[in-house]
Structures are given as C-alpha cells and as structure tokens.
C-alpha cells in the first residue's frame, strides 16, 4: 500500500479509535483482551483497506471490531442470531410495576448521577449479544439498519436485543436506586 493510503488510513483511524477502544473494552471487560482485539482489527482493516468503499469508515471499522469480538466470545454470534421467544419484559409497561424504578423515572438526572458503578455493573451483567447491540445503538449511535448489517442479523432482532437490554438496565438501576434509598436512610 502506498504511503498516501497508509496516511489516509491512519487519519481515518485517528478520528474513531477512542470509540473503538471504548466499545471493545465495554464488550470484553479485560484491557489486555480488548487491546488484542482492537490491534488485530486495525491490522485486518489495514489489510483490507484497498477494498474499503470510501463510505462510512467508522461503521466499517466497528463491524471489523465486532467480528473480532465474536471470535473471542464463541457464543456471541449464535446468541446474536437467536430468535427470542416473546416475553413479558417485552412490554415496557411492566416497568410501571417496579416501585424503585419509579424513583429513577421521577428524577433521572439526580438519581442516575449517583449510580455510575451499578450502571457499569448492570452493563457487564447483560448477555453479550444484548450488550453489543445496546452499546452500538445507545453509546455509539448507529442506526438499527447499520447494526443489522454489521452483525448480519435482521433489524427485528436488533430491536429485540436492544429492548431487552434497555429493560434489564432499567430494572437493575431501579433496584440499585431502591437499595441506595434504603441504605442511605
């Protein structure tokens, strides 16, 4: 590859590398493992850079990182494409029956400012597939369609994983808020 191409590649990378690091870290937890995956992804991307169509580099890069994360987590690809049976949690109204979540919803700004650790823990506790889809949407800002293409799953499945992730995170945050309220007197 020419020096110009290499420079262009590195320039593209510079614009999104912190986000790739964030995504890999939040997916894998372990720093060394995340660095392995990101480094490998960068080298794979560089090798394929000639085939990059000049579109959305960030999305292209995230797709490569997602694939490398799947290699690290054997069950992830299967989990992602699983057809999930409908469940009562698919109805957001069920959150209304959760007293502690009502506290969160009443004043999200104040309550959630105090729940940084429980939030990160709740994220870690999500199934890998839900965590991945949630991060790609809510933190990294990709559209459903982009996520579906990245992960080779239907848009409907993206929505189901996302919905469950959101529901579980809220449930856990509600529980943490409830515990904090009782503990704090």
């Amino acid at each position: 590859m020419s020096t110009t191409d290499t420079t262009a590649f590195l320039k593209h990378l510079l614009a999104c590398r912190e986000e790739l690091a964030r995504f890999a870290s939040r997916m894998l937890g372990d720093r060394t493992e995340a660095q392995d995956v990101v480094q490998e992804s960068v080298l794979v991307a560089y090798r394929k850079y000639a085939k990059f169509d000049g579109g959305n580099f960030r999305g292209w890069m995230f797709a490569i990182v997602a694939r490398e994360v799947m290699r690290e987590r054997r069950n992830l690809a299967r989990q992602l494409s699983e057809t999930l049976a409908p469940s009562e949690i698919d109805d957001f109204a069920s959150l209304d029956n959760m007293d502690s979540y009502a506290d969160v919803r009443r004043d999200p700004e104040r309550v959630l400012d105090q729940l940084g650790d429980p939030l990160r823990q709740a994220l870690r506790d999500l199934p890998d597939a839900q965590r991945m889809v949630f991060l790609l949407r809510a933190v990294e800002g990709f559209r459903y369609r982009q996520i579906a293409e990245m992960l080779h799953i239907p848009v409907g499945t993206v929505m189901t994983h996302l919905h469950r992730a959101r529901w579980k995170l809220r449930e856990r945050l509600g529980a943490a808020a409830g515990a904090g309220r009782k503990g704090g007197g």
Binding site: L10, R31, Q39, Y46, F92, L119, V139, Y144, L162
Partner: protein, 241 residues
Amino acid sequence: MMRCEEIVRYWGAYLDSELGPETQIEMSAHLEQCPECADRLGKEQQVERKIAQGLSDTPDWGAFWGDVERRVRAKGRSRILPFRWMAIAASLLVLVGVAFLATRKDPSPMARLALAHHQAGVEAAREGVAMDAGSVRALLRESFPGIDLAALDMACPGHEVRLQGVRRIEVDGKPAVLVRYTCCSKPMSVLLMRTEDAGPGDEPIGNRRVWIAAGTRFIACAVGGHDAGILQRAASAWAGA
C-alpha cells in the same frame, strides 16, 4: 388513534427516531394530546441519555496507539509477515532450555517462519474437532518418531486445559504439528516442529514480549491470551522433550 398501551410498545424506536413515517405521525399525535405519555417518554429519554453518558468515557490506553501506528506503517513498507498471531501476542518457546538473550531489534528469520506457519495453520485449523489427549499424543508420536512424550505437558501450571484440535502441517517440507486448546477459557495454540537453526532471543513485538529461544531439536510457537510469563513457565514444562 393510538392508545396509551400501544405507545409503550414503540417507545424505544420512537426515542431512536427509527419509527416508520406513519407510526411516527400517529405517535406524535397521541403525545400531543396525552400529557401522561408525553411525560413518561420525556423521562425515559432522560434516563436513556444519562445511561449513555455514564458509559461514554473512553479508556486511556497510553502508548498502545503509538505502537499500533508504528506497526501499520511497518506493514505498509513491507509485507513479510501475516500479522494476526503476532498481534495477539505470539510467543515462541523452546523445548530445550537455553538462556534467553536480551533485546534484539527484529524478529529472527526462524521466528518469522514459525509465526507465519503458525498463522496459516491456525487459520486452517479453526474448525478443529475436539480431541482427547491420547489422540494428540498418537499424532505427535507419528509425526516425530522417537519423541519423548512423557515430558510433554499442555498445561500452563495450575490451569485447566481443554484440547480442541490438532493438525499436521508442513513447514518448509518438514513436519510440524499444530495443537489448539483452551487454557483457563482462552484460546491457545502451539506449533511444534523440529529445528536446527533457531536463534535464541527475547524480543518485544507489538505491546507484548515474544520469547524466542533456540533448541537443537524442537521449536514450539505458542499463541494465545496468556502473558509471556505463563508461556515461559509452560515452556519449561516442555523442556525435557
């Protein structure tokens, strides 16, 4: 007109601006007339925003990006080596104990060769079948007549090892065996081959250390998520072969 119960169903897609135009219009119409739903959605939007904010910090990886950039530039200049396994932390180990030398700038030709074949072998063996230790030993015995199997031990000391597959490959026309296994759930692989010409050394490659040492009978190239210390200890467990 949408009812309140229907609103909750579209909640996520509404906040993500992913509704189809018709549903979007119906939903907006409902929200204009229903303060409860509007309030509720507003709050969920706040919750969602706070969650995203709480997860938005990026990690400080120190010298990592500098290393990566150097490797990309080096790769741009030449294409000697498949990078994958070096990137993952390749470790070259030796079965016959030799003193490790201190830093050397480039990987030795033997290291490159072993890594390259290791890479090819690992990719070929990705769909390896599960195997028991007995079959691996049989294959090793067949590939390296006279090998002393008693001294071979796949385990990082104290770790649980599961064999996944084994494949015979050739390195410069000479037999080599690639064994894939997991150790404490991390995928590992070892390339085992005879060699006369490996130079000893201990080299940093990427942000990991690569152990290269020479033996007159075998060279083993281990790759996986383990740090070099564990691999080095593993090497000494193999040293009697």
